[in-house]
């Protein structure tokens, strides 16, 4: 392992340069994209209105293919998914509402088919968990800021004391250390 010491930062090859190259390659790749395989199913249904077509797309996006790994009906190439899309199409054309279609699917395949779980006693925690997290977090954060707000003055005091107790030699060293190093995130704020 060669352990060369850094003499002139910026002139040697730094890991950041490699990273920057990686980023550039990726950027070019996104812009000049290659073409690749696709597996999406294509089936053609005639709708009377665009509203029906949108409902069809929405519904086949929100139901899970019961036989696939983890895919919704609209993206799954499987035969079962194709049958279920045909069923959804039939029900839409027969004038059934979204709720009726969902009830039909639910009755036939159970909760597994719904990507948006129903709110039941068993899923209360799922749906309200994030809100609980948020409330708990806000409460903790409030406590932190409240207890910390009182220490602002104390911090000022500490900082002033430290400033006064520096000896001349220490000050000289401090200024050498801080030499041409502006406060990086907030250069104008030198309070």
């Amino acid at each position: 392992m060669s352990v060369s010491s850094t003499v002139t930062p910026g002139r040697r090859l730094q890991p950041q340069h490699l990273l920057a190259c990686l980023v550039c390659v990726f950027a070019m790749w996104v812009m000049f994209s290659p073409q690749a395989q696709a597996q999406a199913p294509v089936d053609v249904y005639e709708f009377e209105t665009t509203e029906q077509e949108q409902r069809f797309r929405q519904l086949s996006n929100d139901f899970r293919c019961p036989m696939c790994q983890n895919a919704n009906l609209s993206s799954s190439p499987g035969g079962v998914a194709a049958d279920l899309r045909r069923e959804i199409y039939r029900m839409i054309m027969e004038g059934m509402s979204d709720e009726e279609i969902e009830a039909f699917m639910l009755q036939r395949y159970g909760d597994f088919i719904l990507y948006r779980p129903r709110l039941t006693l068993q899923t209360v925690l799922l749906w309200f968990g994030p809100i609980l997290f948020l409330l708990a977090g806000v409460w903790i954060a409030r406590n932190i800021t409240r207890s910390s707000g009182g220490r602002v003055e104390a911090t000022d005091e500490t900082e002033r004391e430290t400033a006064v107790t520096l000896s001349a030699e220490e000050k000289a060293r401090l200024s050498r250390l801080l030499n041409d190093q502006p406060d990086a995130d907030n250069p104008t704020n030198r309070s």
């Binding site: 850094t6 696709a38 999406a40 077509e53 948020l134 220490r151 995130d185 104008t188």
Partner: protein
């Protein structure tokens, strides 16, 4: 013979990491300089032997050594060379070796680029990483050795690499994802070393920050590449599926984002110390959780590797040991890390705290949604539920909305204390301009009131204007604009760039979900179909012979408002070896929108079914992530992280204590 050498190198790496994981840590505790100084050479040794192991596995692929089980399962004599090499990470065993090698690479980088960090501290950091390496190498040797042989009767030819993986993205997505993922173990090691030594101050944060930024920036790219791959590979315009294997990296990414913000406060103001350490532990734990989910066989998905319960048990045990151990250490040592510095109500610290709050709540919610079905199944005795995109979008989108609102204020606020008047004076006009223009532009462009678009525009302009306002107020007192812009540190530009990228990604994601349109049609040659402002004219198909497939290639001319734009060539392929059909979309990607066509099937009358897509702004999602990653990397290059090297060089002849004091200052 050669594969046995690879196996032997792996065993040697395992042995060396045991030494690395013990002696330097003990040496640091007992102040034994000799033992501490072993850390760097041992790290180099571990890396060298892991590299030998990896190269030998690659060599076995290139030379078609099908007596190696892993090669026989994931390669084939006819596989193109670039995929033979990258097939190393095409399956569980090899990808774990690659993953461990990445860990070795990060360790080596720490050993080389942390000259300014005190010996005692770096010994602990490398020691902790050595312990992680022990876990990984032992896992390979015990449960999933890539060098296992099929003897005495090796197969004549390999089973071939999964066809879906034979793509350019497969060459770049796993390495960048792994590199970012594994990079979080560096930050974890720094955190544990801080707990062990009880030393956690601004200097610690300064040593740690470049690593955290680099790992996070690379993870951003890895995730983005995966999303992009899914988009063009799957061919129906989906770019994020909230799949249980996609979610853990996102959780790690969110926790990492929280951590680099918290680290900023720790470095600048000495606050949130113990919180930063906790975030580092959680981010690393979530990366192990991701490993567990993809490799345990707990669930099935495109990403899941072959299933084996012993592996799952091992990883879970390792996860429990690492997380339990570090949390125990945290519980014992964290009280001494208490920060004594205060901050006022509208200070930047408060906004960073809010940022952390939202990012952590978002990760917790995603974790909840990801694990809920598994827990539900276990608790209810086999009942299955699905938690999918509708759930995650409902939770995630509002949280990100709040985050973006705060993002406009946080960077403007000052450290420690900001008066409300100051914020009002800085941001009132920004807010008014954002609201007025954000409402006016979409309304005038569409001549309607699209509420979602208005929301996106207002928030995006809010961030843009607040950034400009901040830059303007920072250069206001400088002699000239250029001098002012030059005086701003690199890390400031990195921050702004990353925030800009974040807003671009969010705006792209929202706008594309609002404005994407698609249409499935049945067309005979010469017929056409309209979608939005575009007309797609089907010219017919012709047979095409590929290297390992045959295909029908369609020709579709795209017109925009009657004017010729571009010809697309989607294909319907049949892979002859495995007799699997595949489609190949014809795509026209531009800055403001993507157009693409996927070919379905031919019908009796010579017509083809096909789906036409127009997806505005979809490219912004990935372009934004490039800005995020680039911003993160820019921040790493800030000269204040290299300052001690320079000062150390200048003071090379002074006594060592001087340099060390400077490092600790």
């Amino acid at each position: 013979m050669i594969p046995e050498l690879g196996n032997f190198a792996l065993i040697l790496a395992f042995c060396l990491s045991i030494v690395l994981g013990t002696l330097p840590i003990i040496g640091a505790a007992r102040d034994n300089t000799l033992w501490m100084s072993l850390a760097r050479p041992l790290t180099a040794g571990v890396f060298v032997f892991l590299s030998i192991s990896l190269v030998i596995l690659g060599y076995s692929f290139v030379t078609d050594d099908f007596s190696v089980q892993f090669v026989a399962n994931h390669s084939n004599t006819n596989l193109p060379l670039q995929y033979k090499i990258t097939a190393v990470w095409g399956g569980h065993e090899g990808s774990f070796l690659f993953w461990t090698w990445m860990l070795g690479g990060w360790m080596l980088a720490v050993a080389i680029f942390s000259k300014s960090v005190p010996e005692e501290f770096i010994a602990r950091v490398l020691g902790v990483m050595g312990l992680i390496c022990v876990g990984y190498t032992l896992f390979m040797l015990a449960t999933s050795n890539p060098f296992d042989r099929v003897l005495p009767l090796p197969p004549a030819d390999g089973a071939d690499l999964n066809a879906a993986l034979q793509d350019f993205a497969f060459i770049v997505h796993p390495p960048s994802l792994y590199m970012g993922y594994v990079g979080f173990s560096v930050v974890f090691a720094f955190a544990v070393a801080a707990l062990l030594s009880g030393r956690l101050d601004a200097a610690w944060a300064r040593w740690c920050r470049p690593w955290a930024n680099a790992a996070w920036a690379i993870l951003t790219l890895g995730l983005s590449l995966g999303s992009w791959w899914a988009y063009y590979e799957l061919g129906w315009g989906g770019w994020w599926a909230w799949d249980p294997v996609e979610n853990p990296p996102l959780i790690t990414w969110l926790l990492g984002a929280a951590m680099i913000h918290s680290l900023a406060a720790t470095e600048k103001r000495g606050v949130f110390k113990s919180w930063t350490v906790l975030l580092a532990i959680m981010a690393f734990a979530s990366s192990l959780l991701g490993t567990f989910i993809t490799r345990s066989g707990l669930l099935t998905s495109v990403h899941a590797f072959a299933t084996d319960p012993t592996r799952g048990v091992y990883i879970l045990g390792f996860l429990g040991l690492i997380v339990g151990g570090s949390l125990l250490l945290y519980a014992i040592r964290a009280p001494i890390l208490k920060s004594e510095f205060g901050f006022g109500n509208w200070s930047r610290e408060v906004f960073l705290l809010a940022n952390n709050l939202i990012l952590v709540v978002a990760s917790a919610a995603i974790l909840l949604g990801t694990l809920y079905p598994m827990v539900y199944q276990a608790v209810s005795g086999g009942d299955l539920i699905s938690v999918g995109p509708p759930y995650f979008n409902t939770i995630f989108v509002p949280l990100m909305g709040i985050l973006v609102v705060l993002l406009g204020i946080g960077p403007v606020a000052r450290w420690k204390r900001t008066s409300r008047e100051y914020l009002r004076q800085q941001l009132t006009r920004v807010a008014i301009a954002a609201v007025v223009l954000g409402v006016a532009i979409p309304v005038l462009l569409t001549m309607s009131v699209p509420l979602g678009t208005i929301g996106v525009c207002v928030l995006a302009l809010w961030i843009m204007f607040s950034m400009l306002r901040d830059v303007a107020s920072k250069v206001a007192n400088k002699p000239s604009l250029m001098a002012g812009l030059k005086s701003l540190p690199v890390s400031y530009w990195g921050m702004q760039l990353a925030h800009f990228g974040f807003v671009m990604t969010m705006a792209g994601a929202c706008l594309t979900s609002i404005y994407s349109i698609e249409r499935s049609v049945l067309l005979q040659a010469g017929q056409q179909a309209d979608l939005g402002r575009y007309t797609f004219v089907f010219e017919g198909t012709r047979p095409v012979q590929g290297p390992n497939y045959i295909a029908d290639e369609g020709t579709i001319r795209v017109l925009r408002e009657g004017e010729f734009l571009r010809t697309l060539h989607p294909q319907k392929q049949l892979y002859t070896a495995s007799n699997t059909p595949a489609t190949h979309m014809g795509i026209d990607g531009r800055f403001l929108r993507d157009l693409f066509v996927t070919l379905g099937d031919p019908r009796d009358n010579g017509a083809w079914s096909m789906t036409l897509y127009v997806k505005p702004f979809v490219r912004w999602i990935w372009l934004g992530t490039i800005f995020i990653a680039f911003g993160g990397i820019l921040a790493v290059t800030d000269k204040r992280y290299r300052r001690y090297k320079v000062s150390k060089q200048a003071a090379a002849d002074e006594q060592p204590a001087e340099a060390r004091l400077a490092g600790e200052h």
